[in-house]
Point group: C2
Chain length 232, copies 2
């Protein structure tokens, strides 16, 4: 199945320049050929090419089906971006393949990175959505302060990945089935003690992600997969 | 802890040019500074710099401890390399961070890639070992034919990641604790039916890795983490 992403599923559909190029130049689709579209909100449309323009490909939607999220849990991952932008792009790609509902980024005290490119990550997210044939694009939030992230968290179970001498229990054991989860993944220099205290004072629970020292992006993928496995 | 890799832990230790540069130029260590060494075979040595040469750093081992593998399971992943070499490097890095014992690569009928660079992957493996402070470097095998891989497999439980209309059971449910496992991950174009039959006739079991369509390298990471979680 060829899946393309479009913000609004309204006739006539005009693909973006990038998507048009992919459709006409790379895949060599022609007028009359059909393909599938999603808006990342659970809709799957079948559409036909009515103008095979490699810059502005025009499509006609033939029918639309709605596929609601069928799962009883919700995974929200909040990550302190790594210095290396590639590593965050991989995190986004892999989490979308595996299954995730929301991704936030926050500024931590020990973050080495001050800015990051949400737009680039969103593009990566759309590419991963298409590749994995998912119809629900996760919500992606711009860089937040750690305080705001903590203050506005409403999930059933809230975790902070932090291993210290107290050797906290593992995420796989601490998480209950069919909940909404938020997992905080710290920067390369880990959370500060103030950040840890703030989280613990706001009903976050310290958890370990396993026996290994993991890079930030690996920790994110491990948390995402652990919660998916728990609920499968 | 600063961990360096060396093939043989024998005095005097001579670091490679790359490791010497990292040690003296990047980390700015000096004569008399100490660091840790591993041979990837479970040894951890404490050593002191006796010649801070940025091309040929010389060390004196002060003591060596042996850390045997403490786990009761063994994970062997066999993967058909992807066209994009980066994706295989990521797979190796992530699996080593998470925990793996052996990685093989095989030539599949639908493989787009004919050659791959084992040396480069081994370098990546050593970097990941150091970063994650692991002392056991997984065994990495040169490209095998699918037939040879199947014929020489001796693991307790052997799986082939393959989803078809029979909807096989999930790896997490099919795998038993405390076993040696082999999981085969197919190429981008999936296994051929001949390959599937050959595996099934040699006591491999079809398994699904979850509800999503995963890229080759993601499937590898998911299999590795699933077996680690099961045994933790």
């Amino acid at each position: 199945m060829l899946l393309f992403y479009i913000l609004d599923l309204q006739n006539p559909v005009l693909l973006s320049e990038e998507e048009s190029k992919h459709c006409i130049k790379v895949l060599r689709l022609q007028k009359g050929d059909s393909l599938h579209l999603t808006d990342g909100k659970g809709h799957l449309a079948k559409a036909e090419i009515i103008e095979a323009n490699p810059k502005k490909c025009v499509l006609q939607i033939l029918d639309i089906e709605q596929f609601p999220q069928k799962k009883d849990f919700k995974i929200h991952l909040a990550v302190a971006p790594t210095k290396n932008a590639d590593r965050m792009e991989w995190l986004v790609e892999k989490c979308i393949e595996i299954g995730i509902d929301e991704i936030s980024f926050f500024q931590a005290q020990h973050s080495e990175r001050q800015h990051f490119n949400l737009e680039r990550l969103q593009k990566k997210a759309i590419a991963a959505l298409k590749q994995s044939l998912h119809l629900h694009l996760p919500k992606m939030n711009a860089l937040l302060s750690f305080k705001n992230l903590i203050a506005n968290s409403t999930e059933d179970q809230k975790f902070i990945a932090y291993v210290d001498s107290q050797n906290p229990s593992k995420l796989f054991e601490s998480a209950k089935k069919n909940q909404s989860y938020l997992v905080l993944i710290g920067p390369e220099g880990d959370f500060s003690t103030q950040e840890l205290d703030l989280a613990l004072n706001n009903n976050f629970q310290k958890v370990s992600l396993g026996n290994s020292r993991l890079r930030t992006e690996t920790a994110g993928i491990v948390a995402c997969l652990t919660l998916n496995l728990l609920n499968e």
